[in-house]
Assembly symmetry: D3
């Protein structure tokens, strides 16, 4: 169920049986010469949507822009300052807390968001405590690509050529979700991983075409479907478990 597809009386009904909401969060950033800029957002949204269907739980609107400073030397990338994303998450969660939602499960598609999400959870819990709230908001996040079965599949399919950005696994999921976006031009094998990136210019100097040690050409739509299903299966277990702990 998508919050956007419900009426307000539907939400009132939902709150009778659950105070939990899933929130997909992605990024709008370069994904190499063949990966589309919306990759992280589209994948997080689709996985959350399907997880909502299978678990009969509600999904809130996608946060499609994340923290992507490292990718800012490539045209088309958007990046939020972490303090902006913290403010945005405060408003998102405080709005829902007003209606009775207390539990939030973020389904994340971009590693660069993790630090700011965790910082925001802390900032929100400080605010709740200072206002004297009796029951704190409960927040957690899972990166879809770190669901156990997905990790196993990524290794099996792509081994070392999975890399760290513009990975064949995420490209494969996009190929499954959006076959119209498949690019045919072959890419050379990836260069090696470099030392820790420091800022946008450094990223582009170390990884001139935007990939981090990945070979997206290995991706196939069929693998994408398997990866997608594995992520959804894993999350459709984890999300209800998390919500039941806070019940």
């Amino acid at each position: 169920m998508q919050l956007h597809d419900l009426t307000w009386p539907d939400v009132e009904d939902y709150l009778q049986r659950s105070d939990g909401l899933m929130i997909p969060i992605g990024s709008t950033e370069q994904h190499g010469p063949s990966g589309v800029i919306g990759t992280d957002a589209m994948v997080a949204k689709a996985i959350a949507r399907e997880t909502g269907v299978r678990s009969d739980l509600l999904v809130g609107p996608l946060l499609s822009i994340g923290v992507a400073e490292h990718h800012m030397a490539f045209p088309g990338t958007l990046s939020l300052r972490p303090s902006t994303l913290i403010a945005l998450l405060q408003d998102y969660l405080h709005s829902l807390a007003q209606h009775g939602f207390r539990q939030f499960f973020f389904i994340n598609g971009h590693g660069g968001n993790i630090a700011t999400l965790k910082a925001a959870f802390s900032e929100i819990q400080t605010g709740e405590r200072e206002r004297g709230g009796q029951r704190p908001l409960r927040c957690t996040l899972v990166n879809w690509y770190e669901v156990a079965e997905v990790v196993r599949l990524r290794k099996q399919y792509y081994g070392d050529q999975e890399g760290r950005h513009a990975t064949p696994s995420e490209i494969a999921v996009i190929q499954y979700l959006r076959p119209d976006l498949i690019r045919k031009q072959p890419l050379p094998p990836p260069g090696p991983l470099q030392s820790e990136v420091q800022g946008a210019a450094d990223f582009r100097a170390k990884y001139p075409d935007g990939r981090m040690g990945s070979w997206p050409d290995l991706a196939t739509p069929a693998q994408g479907q398997v990866l997608f299903d594995a992520a959804v299966r894993g999350l459709a277990q984890q999300v209800p478990t998390f919500f039941s702990e806070g019940g």
Copy 2:
């Protein structure tokens, strides 16, 4: 063209011929007993997408959460503080300005966003001036429901029963875009418009089911299609005109 569907080299190519981008902005808010919470966001996104196709211009990611304080007494509504939305718009536009975009045309689906969008344009232009930018960012907004032909059709189709919120015109567009979301239960005719609303509780006291003088039951998918096409036709003229003035 959707920014999310492009690779970064595609964006590099686009910037050779245009420095303009459309940005759809909606809201996540109650739309009466039969209208879905994502109405403003879905309509703005779909109209921007189709305008992008017809005008061969780029569309950035949807801003699906707006300023909806007035609707916060109805479950499911999200609202950003205006200062948060200003910060978010700063980061969105500054990111794109880094890549060479200079012109931004917001396609807006929610009246409550207008004030904050205009405030943000001013704040962004102050920032640009203080940093000594040579060419200012150009920003404008159009509400899709105020495109001239759309205004005419809304009057023709619904007259006084168009109302001011959860209007049959926006419901009709959703019926056209998402027939799966059509609700069948009939609503009573709308009550009269009240004096100016002051905050969330006052809104609900004055408009207990969330409609503001509107009768969404008048909506049909066929009207929705006509309204949608009129909005796109109008915008497919206005957007390129705006961008050419700043060229």
Copy 3:
């Protein structure tokens, strides 16, 4: 009655009979070659003061600096970032709410303030709601130059040469209020209105002497008096009406 002219026991007495306050807000910005920089502030202040006298209602201190980014290419203009004005309005209203004021009627002299005022109203109402306030603060604004009778007179006196900035109507009110400031040097007729202004440099490029299609030379002190009286008469009706709705 001016808040500044009362003692604190006077205010305590006033609160026995009203929880409403008028707030004049103007701007400090260029008004063409013959209009003074304080025009918007002086006019708003004088109209609010006289409205207070006629309606026996209290007037708070003038906000003399507004949002005037568009005029920043002309020396002497001051402009607040919208986020600063929102913070200032929060403190102004929260201070008064502490004492029991609940209703605020802004008498505005500058179009550039409208968006930020409305954004601030929303931000303040969000804050009130989150703190759990039982009765929300009520806020509204009226531009003195849009009082119905003032609109009629502006058209009658100046027709198309009223223009949009440094208008003969506001110059006339200043001539009435401050005859010592009347400038005698004749100006040429105004140039035509241009397309939407984008930032300070663009404003000056389009309107090199600071006027927007206006011919201030048409102004007379006698017209200024008529305009002033019309604004006050209109507001002396609207303000008590607004306050009584919230009673």
Copy 4:
């Protein structure tokens, strides 16, 4: 000269001969049972205005609301959070720096503003430095009641009964400036000064009628005129001296 009374070409001319501006800042706060709420603002404004006349230097718009948390238990008091006043001062000075003003002399009427003004000067100079400005903005403040001759007169006229708030000296200046505001009801002699005030409730507990050890009944309009003239004479020397040091 008042900035509000000039046109933009007048300001352009002024900048040929000076880059300095005086800024009056007061407060909107209780001044005991017989002192008006606008005392600090009115006095600062009038002294700055007359200093401007005598020194032929420009005076910017009054900041009429200051930091007055200690007085918030008395109706009618307004108080800005220091962080708000810092933001407001940044925008005020940055706007003028855009036009070429580099020197700012604050004429202050309220002790509670001093800390925040000094903090703002530091914050503004940090900002200027980080933007790489070649010549820093120069800022200083003088409290009119601490001009040497004013200090002497206050002691001579009122001795120990000058007190620390709602003092006969400031009441006297208001009596001189605004004889219409003179209150006749006699007050009892002041109680003793108490230990350091901690917040608004503590202030009212220690000083129930709002005075801090002062006896405003001693004030006369004639004394007010002498005090006013002494302040202006002192400032008409200090202001040009300060500006010439930065020339």
Copy 5:
């Protein structure tokens, strides 16, 4: 070398040979019934100091307060909102960048700081990029307890009873550094680890005495010395390596 122990000419000399600085960051938070509140700060400071000695590199002032919301139900804990810590880190690093420092190696003693540190690095790099800085600031962090040899020793010494908070390893280092603080009263063995903590009240409900599955009684000063030396040895290699990459 401690920055605090140098004169400014000493720093000028240092900058001739290095643009790198170590920054210790800890926390002020409960460490169970026998661990002192300053544990994380003291350990980080001492390890950084000794690493500075061995590597002949400079150490900046300790950040002794971190993000410790989870521990706020225990008296004595301090916690910064992440947005405050981001602002503090911006000022710390921007100040040093003014003098020519470009590389910052944080030696961290508290897991709760990691997310905010990483968010701050991103926010700082965005700011640098937008100001047009040619060479970005380089920032990294290492948790002393995750230095490889320290990880090995913790497992060897304490096995499962190391736990996750108020661990014997950190208590041991404090015992080595500050034998005067050794507490003698025996604690019961630790309870089991619980599901993910959600806020301060939840932490105390799950871990009533403040330990997370740890048995601090296992700690000895001799182990503390070995752990301390292992951390310093590891860092005395990592820090110069990091700085040399950015040279």
Copy 6:
């Protein structure tokens, strides 16, 4: 007693007998050619520590970075924006207020912090009042070098050559506390005091070696001990007195 040296049950016990805490605050800034950068922080910390011992009252963690914009033209200086320090102080005090602390006595080592500390006290008290707190937080500050007996000794020892920055009195206390940091190279006598400093570049232009009219060579460790003892004796009286007033 140092908060850092206690366990949380110790703090629980302390709160049974006192709700007061001392907080040392210094600065990290140049202190001339022979004074170390940590002077203000080390002195404030040591005096607070010893005052805590003698008065049996608790001392919170040192704030070692202050507002030092004026010194930013000398390498090694750190400076917080006042708004950052206000935020930091809010979090510091709000954290402790959560546990029951209500009274805070700042022992300050740097004149540049005073304005921001006072602004922060006001901002914190506004926040407390708006949240409806029954008993306000009580805050005060004393500069150790302005304790009466210290003032007398400074005049006696150094007369006019005490100066205003990098003074022999603070150097002497450091010599007493840290004999290992004593510098031997002789400095020339100080130049004269200049007109009010305006920003970092102006400071260095007026005081090229960082001293403000001071001759640190006059300092001896023995004097440092006397000064230190005088400061502690004075504070060991003032702190308990302040706390008892708020009891």
